[in-house]
């Protein structure tokens, strides 16, 4: 197995794909975080200046609004590890290098497992790079008052890295299942960039804020980071309200979190853990189907 993993790493490192995807992932994460955090900073500053807000003595300035920039930028940058993962097996199938790969592996199961392990590592690597890009972008664009503390930052970044890892494996599974890199990429990109986000929004709107969207792959994936951000913000709001002498019940908290999740790019998302488990399940389904499909696929 170790030999096969080494071979898989060599496959990746002897072509340009890995950095050709990683570089734009880094730049997109950085740029997106920068832009969104700058935008949020300016909006929140404006809102805080509104008389009404000041009158109620809600200090918007105390909230870590930049977490939204962090989550949104990491969410959008996941398309690169997604592409990277999708091509893992699909491009071997279409380029027919899979023939030699199967001929030089003890069993197909061993090869596919080695590939899975290798892409777990690469998914994490992409996640770390994207997290670094998003963090730098957020720091650059955000008012320092809106930055989260270290613990909150770490939680969001970790959920983002987990998201990258799962998207990588999700892509690997779909690519392996379909066998055609172009077909798999077109479907996944259209889904994750257009159908997923818009569908989630429409579904959440039509069903008056149900969690339907949160059960779907894109919704649950975005929920992973979106719910983390909303949790951070909701905690801060509750602290504020409690400090002001008020109370917030669970229902009120959930309503607030849902609104923040919507802003963070995950409308209709469930809580952090549920989202994570659901996306893990989706990834598992496609991954296992893709692997099973290739255990018996006739390579002609």
């Amino acid at each position: 197995m170790g030999m096969l993993i080494k071979a898989e790493f060599r496959k990746i490192l002897t072509t340009k794909m890995w950095w050709a995807m990683m570089l734009p992932a880094l730049l997109l994460a950085l740029g997106w975080a920068w832009g969104v955090s700058a935008l949020i900073t300016s909006i929140i500053s404006d809102i805080s200046d509104v008389d009404l807000i000041e009158e109620f003595n809600i200090s918007f300035d105390d909230l870590s609004w930049s977490v939204i920039a962090l989550t949104r930028s990491m969410n959008i940058a996941t398309i690169f590890p997604l592409i990277f993962g999708t091509l893992a097996l699909a491009s071997e199938l279409s380029r027919r290098t899979i023939t030699t790969s199967f001929l030089t592996a003890s069993t197909r199961g061993a090869l596919l497992s080695a590939k899975a392990i290798t892409y777990v590592v690469w998914g994490l690597l992409y996640g770390v790079v994207i997290a670094i890009g998003s963090s730098i972008g957020t720091v650059l664009g955000s008012d320092s008052g809106y930055l989260p503390d270290a613990g909150q930052w770490l939680m969001i970044v970790l959920s983002g890295i987990l998201g990258c890892l799962l998207w990588t494996l999700f892509g690997l599974g779909v690519g392996a299942l379909m066998g055609s890199p172009v077909g798999a990429l077109v479907i996944l990109l259209i889904y994750s960039l257009i159908v997923g986000p818009i569908g989630d929004l429409v579904m959440t709107g039509l069903t008056e804020g149900s969690y339907l969207a949160g059960f779907l792959p894109n919704g649950s994936a975005n929920g992973l980071t979106g719910a983390t951000a909303s949790q951070v913000l909701a905690g801060q709001v509750i602290d504020l309200v409690t400090n002001a002498g008020g109370t917030v019940d669970d229902e009120g908290r959930e309503q607030f979190e849902q609104v923040v999740r919507g802003i963070a790019g995950a409308p209709g998302a469930l809580t952090l853990w549920l989202s994570g488990l659901l996306f893990l399940a989706w990834t598992g389904v496609f991954f296992v189907l893709g692997i099973l499909r290739n255990r018996n696929r006739d390579i002609t």
Partner: protein, 434 residues
């Protein structure tokens, strides 16, 4: 685990792709120390069989083993068997050396083995180039290098000569022979017998997914009928004389000679002497394998034609009035073009190639054959006059009925394409380096 014998066993192997029966109940085995040719027309199931052997395609029934084990139970298979498969892929952006290093890692051989095999196949200087820029021949060499990476005991090659230049083919021959002589096993497929004839010891011939012949190449040679080409002063007279001696398989050639099957040179000479026909030339044509190959792989068409073949001789000479017309119609359909379809017919779906046989029918009604059999002087004259008009493939005039007659047109192309293996590179495998 595996028994280390180097033996390949294919037993009752069957594969259906949906409705298409690609391979049907195929059985053969390959012993170490020999090169076995796996021959059949394109589409006859060769590639599917080899891919089943290498675990890439799952058989519908039967099994294929190497060293007594199916591929997936070989442990580290690349150390046991190397495969060079048709249309094997390379990442276009990966250099040849990197490609080999990837798989060297996968099979656990040291990295310097990559350079060793690159030099072995003559790609030493191209190791740093991306495989995407390689010619077909270079890709074949790289595929062979990949197969040799694990220093395997068994080598399976699917049409390895495709895209190789003559020098490359000569080198490959030498290499494979040396490989087998070291006690290892080679199974090589081809749709051209001539391409591998000088390399192989044993042969498996398949057609439409079924075994047509399996055995030693020499035995196949012996089984082949030869024919005698006679240049008599009076072909007509000799034909009649032969006929009387029950030698009925006589066919005129376009240049006024007679092709006789089923008689020795001595017999023909005696008969000619008795009949008072002078012979200007007698030449025995040894059968070549290509004919046998065509015959074996053309089961569907050859069967009915043999039946027809028995009929012509008895027909009375009177039938000779019409032959010229028959001939005139035939030339366009005949010549060399005719024979490949015949030979390939079985490999293709039955429906597709049944037409050629039908196509002959109008041009050659039963009467058409009669011309070729016995007699009338004018008939011969006409034939001879026509001979020049027929295309170089004039031989095709006979094919409709007589397979033996096809021997000669194929004989010439047989010999040239296969220069002695040693000629180009006496230095052995390294001779292919360039």
């Amino acid at each position: 685990m595996q028994d280390g014998s180097g033996r390949i066993v294919v037993q009752n192997l069957t594969k259906n792709f949906g409705q298409v029966a690609a391979v049907q109940n195929l059985s053969f085995h390959v012993e170490p120390g020999s090169v076995t040719g796996f021959l059949g027309p394109n589409g006859s199931g060769k590639t599917t069989t080899l891919r089943m052997l290498l675990g890439l395609v799952t058989p519908t029934a039967g099994y294929a083993t190497i060293n007594g084990q199916p591929f997936h139970r070989l442990g580290n298979p690349a150390r046991v068997v190397g495969g060079v498969l048709e249309a094997q892929g390379f990442h276009p952006g990966r250099t040849a050396r990197d490609h080999l290093r990837v798989y060297a890692a996968a099979m656990g051989v040291p990295d310097q083995r990559a350079d060793e095999v690159l030099n072995l196949v003559g790609l030493g200087a191209a190791g740093g180039r991306a495989a995407g820029g390689f010619s077909l021949g270079m890709k074949q060499r790289l595929a062979l290098a990949t197969a040799l990476l694990g220093d395997p005991q068994v080598l399976v090659l699917d049409e390895p000569a495709n895209g190789l230049d003559p020098e490359g083919i000569a080198w490959l021959r030498t290499f494979l022979k040396a490989f087998a002589q070291s006690g290892r096993t080679v199974l090589i497929s081809s749709h051209l017998l001539a391409e591998v004839e000088q390399t192989i010891d044993q042969v498996v011939i398949i057609s439409r997914g079924q075994t047509m012949y399996y055995g030693m190449l020499d035995d196949l040679r012996k089984a082949q009928q030869s024919r005698v080409i006679v240049q008599p002063a009076d072909p007509q007279k000799l034909a009649v004389a032969l006929q009387e001696m029950k030698i009925s398989n006589v066919t005129p050639t376009p240049d006024g000679k007679l092709a006789v099957v089923g008689a020795t040179v001595q017999q023909i000479g005696d008969i000619a002497a008795q009949a008072g026909v002078a012979l200007y030339g007698v030449q025995e044509e040894k059968a070549d394998l290509e004919q046998m190959f065509f015959r074996l792989t053309s089961g569907q068409y050859s069967a009915p034609s043999q039946v027809q073949y028995g009929q012509p001789p008895p027909v009375p000479p009177g039938g000779y009035g019409t032959p010229p017309q028959g001939y005139q119609q035939q030339p366009p359909q005949q010549g060399y073009q005719q024979q490949p379809p015949q030979g390939y017919a079985p490999g293709t779906p039955p429906g597709g190639y049944q037409q050629p046989p039908q196509g002959y029918a109008p041009g050659t009604p039963p009467g058409g054959y009669q011309q070729q059999a016995p007699q009338p002087p004018q008939g011969w004259d006409q034939q001879q006059q026509q001979a020049p008009q027929t295309p170089p493939g004039g031989w095709g005039q006979q094919p409709s009925g007589q397979q033996p007659v096809q021997q000669s047109p194929y004989a010439p192309p047989q010999q040239p394409p296969s220069p002695p293996p040693g000629d180009h590179n006496p230095g052995g495998p390294e001779g292919g380096n360039h």
